[in-house]
Subunit: 135 residues, 4 copies
Amino acid sequence: MKSPLEIVQTMLQEDAFSNWLGIQVEQIDQGSCTLSMEAHSEMVNGFSILHGGISYALADSALAFASNAYGYQCVSIETSISHIRPAKAGEKLIATATEIHRGKTVGRYEVIVADQHHKTIAHFKGTVHISEKVW
Amino acid sequence: MKSPLEIVQTMLQEDAFSNWLGIQVEQIDQGSCTLSMEAHSEMVNGFSILHGGISYALADSALAFASNAYGYQCVSIETSISHIRPAKAGEKLIATATEIHRGKTVGRYEVIVADQHHKTIAHFKGTVHISEKVW
Amino acid sequence: MKSPLEIVQTMLQEDAFSNWLGIQVEQIDQGSCTLSMEAHSEMVNGFSILHGGISYALADSALAFASNAYGYQCVSIETSISHIRPAKAGEKLIATATEIHRGKTVGRYEVIVADQHHKTIAHFKGTVHISEKVW
Amino acid sequence: MKSPLEIVQTMLQEDAFSNWLGIQVEQIDQGSCTLSMEAHSEMVNGFSILHGGISYALADSALAFASNAYGYQCVSIETSISHIRPAKAGEKLIATATEIHRGKTVGRYEVIVADQHHKTIAHFKGTVHISEKVW
């Protein structure tokens, strides 16, 4: 079976949107993942702050990598995100995914999105369905 | 006070990410909004299907426009999204936001993201904080 | 295979807490269910309004009955509830569950909890895992 | 202003449902709270396991006490709960609420519900609106 890093590299090759975001893999293991990226001026919303879709996408990618790193394909079925502080273009974003619980067919993960000063920007929770398909 | 359409036009002028997505406003009123966009190849994830961050971003923009259309600035505080069916590059996405309830300081909205065949891709729920700042 | 009503009757026989709540089945079918109950003085919280756990429990039972009525055992894996209006002891509560989408292993349902004047008290969304066990 | 313990004692005096549940306050401070209770045979559902409404109610009370302990009245506006493991009648339940973030008008809390063996039964997240009313 592939290693967590090999799985994430395979996923990232096809993951055009994570590449557009400029996502870097800082850490990856079974059930955990840390990603970073820089907020660009193309990523802001009508209030000139980071669009909620960007912090969501970063957290969702961290969820995907942490849950798929066991070697079985996992698909996100239900997620929620609390937007806690605004972020601005130019800031570095760091998403840290940790495992709440992983059963036979369902896994739960928490992802904290923070800025370079360790201030929380968003708090994300995701539930995935674990399939039997091997990476 | 500005009309719903004037508010959305003002918001969209600054909303670089909604512009990158290619969002079109199909309908806008106080508490309701329909947006459309086309899924591009830059928007897929490691499974070669639409990245969850894209359907989230489209739904979040529909939430922002529907809730801000009353003329008072609203900020999303808590959102959840269920990913129901995969979408592919080339498909048209339509997000329809409707109001569940709007009180003095808190509003709740539901957004359905569907494809051109009216098949539901994602089901989104969002809670906003209503400020006293006028657009 | 048992009918929706037979399944719910079987479930209710063992469901001590739904019985404590005084839940009545108003309508039941595959994917839909309407329940009613009366709010009692034992069900209020520290603000002398209905405890959030009561409206949640009523909605969760409606979710359970609507999703199990197909004849396969379903277990709730992820739920969210927005508390919209307070309710008081003496009021009648009506929970109406409808199906958002049902796939092979995952089903999504929405439940509206209202009072006797059709005012929404709570808005609930639930995701269930569909097992292969037959009722 | 009242102390956290005085506020919780005031709230519990009126909180008929928390009393029915047999909730004990193990720890209380501004932004944190630990509650315990014993699961009774009246609290099970149609699968003869703890009804989701009970773990929700326990978590919701922990959220209420942790967020109100600052002295300002807080009302829950949006909550979600993941049911992770089943619990049975006779087991002890412990709910631990911690603060994710507290701003001027909105606070976010996480509550873990575990059994006496420290196994997680449910994972709860709640958002409250902070009013200016003093306890």
